[in-house]
């Protein structure tokens, strides 16, 4: 029973009692004139979101290495890869399906997908919810009416609402990911069928094969390999692996 603490009613003298009554009356008077509510007056006010907030997703095609990791990892199957005019595949996000888990953002090894703090997006119909690659590239038009942003501050006794003038930033500057480079290599050359599916799927043209004297020589050019892992996924015998290079 060590953890149980007995609490007695505090005993105050006459002056202390009077002081506390005055404070109580003043608080009552203040709340009557300017009530302090916890309700955020949206859209005039917005909650100040932390920088790691998982909201609407933006895309930078220049950083994309076409690895499809975002589409593979998406648990809601919201991401489809769409062929662009440069023959590469870029993600499209169906916000009707997206559960905002941001697995795609986390899985993107080059930081091509970025998170924003936008969470209040409205659509007229389901078709509109499918965001094409082009829509993901540009910052969305947000009609903003907010003049203040609101923070909940926990101090010693109580939670207090803190209102500040100005707009909350929607777009967070995230430092680029550390340059961790992966390249594909073959872990079991004897089991290679020589089917060259890897060569067909390779986006960066790093895999090549030549036939010399009845032997097929397979080669992965590590300078060209972007480490996207498409060949690793498509290999029929699953003998290719991604190796980290420093």
């Amino acid at each position: 029973m060590r953890d149980v603490k007995k609490i007695a009613i505090p005993e105050y003298d006459a002056i202390e009692k009077a002081r506390r009554h005055v404070i109580a009356l003043m608080t009552g008077a203040r709340e009557a004139v300017t009530p302090l509510t916890f309700t955020i007056h949206y859209p005039k006010e917005r909650k100040h979101m932390p920088d790691c907030f998982r909201g609407y997703i933006l895309f930078t095609p220049e950083n994309c290495i076409n690895c499809w990791q975002c589409a593979f990892i998406c648990p809601a199957n919201a991401i489809r890869m769409k062929k662009a005019s440069d023959n590469r595949y870029y993600p499209t996000i169906d916000y009707a399906k997206c559960i905002f888990c941001h697995f795609c953002v986390d899985s993107c090894s080059r930081g091509a997908l970025r998170a924003t703090k936008i969470h209040d997006v409205a659509y007229r119909d389901m078709d509109e919810m499918l965001a094409d690659t082009e829509e993901l590239v540009e910052n969305p038009d947000v009609h903003r009416e907010d003049e203040r942003y609101v923070d909940y501050v926990l101090n010693e006794d109580d939670a207090v609402i803190k209102r500040e003038k100005g707009e909350d930033r929607f777009f967070v500057e995230i430092p680029p990911p550390p340059d961790v480079r992966f390249v594909a290599r073959c872990a079991d050359p004897e089991s290679c069928l020589g089917c060259r599916i890897c060569e067909h799927v390779c986006e960066s043209g790093a895999i090549s094969s030549v036939v010399v004297n009845g032997v097929r020589e397979m080669r992965i050019d590590e300078k060209k390999c972007s480490g996207c892992g498409l060949c690793v996924k498509e290999c029929a015998m699953q003998i290719l692996i991604l190796v980290r290079v420093r």
Binding site: E190, G194, I197
Partner: protein
């Protein structure tokens, strides 16, 4: 994909040897002209086990690769593993460690249910974590069943001879890639020879730790056997089991039996079986069949150390009772099948 492996043995340049091409077409064309079109194809589907092409080799009434001129990736894997491409007929009882006759106490099957017993014991011993069984549907068409738990063995459609081709090997690669410990596979001698080739040619397939061969005289194409048996008055809805004993084909149904001499079936023996002389599945890790032991027992030819361990485990746990083997009867069947060499010379 991201699992870490030792980076020491990984290469960015490697070589794949290509088999010789008798004809100047893609490799499947070579396989087709030498094996499939000449009628020696046994439909073991070892080629389908390796074929990497999307919509590649399948088995719909024979080995099929639609539009192979375009879709074949010309890798030569099918030619490398096909047991009949450079066909050296195998015969005899083969190399063995031990021959035993046994009957499982835990399972009921066609004879001694030793195939089921060996697979179940191997799963219990953690040698394999999955096995491909050949089951059947209501019309006795063969279907593949991936066994992952010994409790699934209570399914009645798994045990018993179907006398029909199965396409179990076409799912072998998926099973091997999904398995962590090892894979078990059950098949006819031609399938087992294919598995042996796969293991020799591609180390990935060494995960097939257990290949069990069945004693086999011949096998039938489902639709031909189905038609033949229907004419003889067999109703497949009532059929319980099919068996060949003492030269008689016996189909047991819920309301009686239909039996006729096996020789009647000769007209529908597939051409691929005519050239096969392997009765005991000499390339298997263990060969199992009813020939050579008392009724209700199975003869088991133990050919690998793994199977020897499994048999020891079965003995220790008293999962089976053991009987006498009549090796002479097996040898007689081996001789009988060896006579088919004559067909090959034609």
């Amino acid at each position: 994909m991201w699992r870490s492996r030792h980076a020491a043995n990984v290469l960015s340049e490697w070589r794949v040897k290509l088999p010789e091409k008798p004809l100047d077409v893609k490799y499947f064309g070579n396989l087709k002209s030498r094996v499939i079109d000449t009628g020696i194809c046994s439909r073991c589907l070892t080629c389908a086990a390796v074929c990497p092409a999307p919509e590649g080799i399948t088995a719909i009434d024979g080995v099929v690769f639609e539009n192979w001129e375009e879709k074949c990736l010309d890798c030569g894997a099918c030619v490398r593993v096909c047991p009949r491409f450079e066909y050296v007929p195998k015969s005899g009882v083969g190399d063995y460690i031990d021959i035993i006759a046994a009957r499982s106490k835990r399972f009921k099957g066609q004879d001694g249910a030793m195939v089921t017993e060996i697979i179940a014991s191997a799963i219990e011993m953690d040698i394999i974590d999955r096995a491909i069984f050949v089951g059947r549907d209501e019309e006795w068409r063969t279907t593949n069943f991936h066994l992952r738990d010994t409790e699934q063995l209570s399914l009645k459609t798994l045990s018993g001879t179907k006398y029909c081709y199965s396409n179990a090997l076409s799912e072998l690669r998926d099973a091997v890639l999904m398995s962590e410990k090892g894979v078990g596979v059950v098949g006819t001698p031609c399938m087992v020879s294919g598995v042996r080739n796969l293991r020799e040619q591609y180390p990935v397939f060494r995960k097939v730790k257990l290949s069990i061969g069945l004693f086999c005289t011949e096998n039938f194409h489902w639709h031909e056997l189905h038609e033949f048996l229907s004419k003889k008055g067999v109703s497949f809805e009532k059929l319980i089991k099919t068996d060949i004993t003492k030269g008689q084909f016996i189909a047991t149904m819920t309301d009686g039996e239909v039996s006729f001499p096996v020789k009647d079936l000769e007209e529908i023996i597939p051409s691929g079986c005519h050239v096969c002389t392997d009765f005991t599945a000499v390339d298997a890790d263990a060969s199992v069949g009813s020939v050579g032991s008392a009724p209700g027992f199975s003869t088991v030819i133990v050919r690998s150390a793994i199977v020897k361990d499994i048999i020891r485990y079965i003995k220790q746990n008293n999962y089976a009772e053991f009987g006498d083997v009549m090796l002479k009867v097996v040898q007689k069947m081996v001789k009988l099948k060896k006579k088919r060499e004559a067909h090959l010379k034609k």
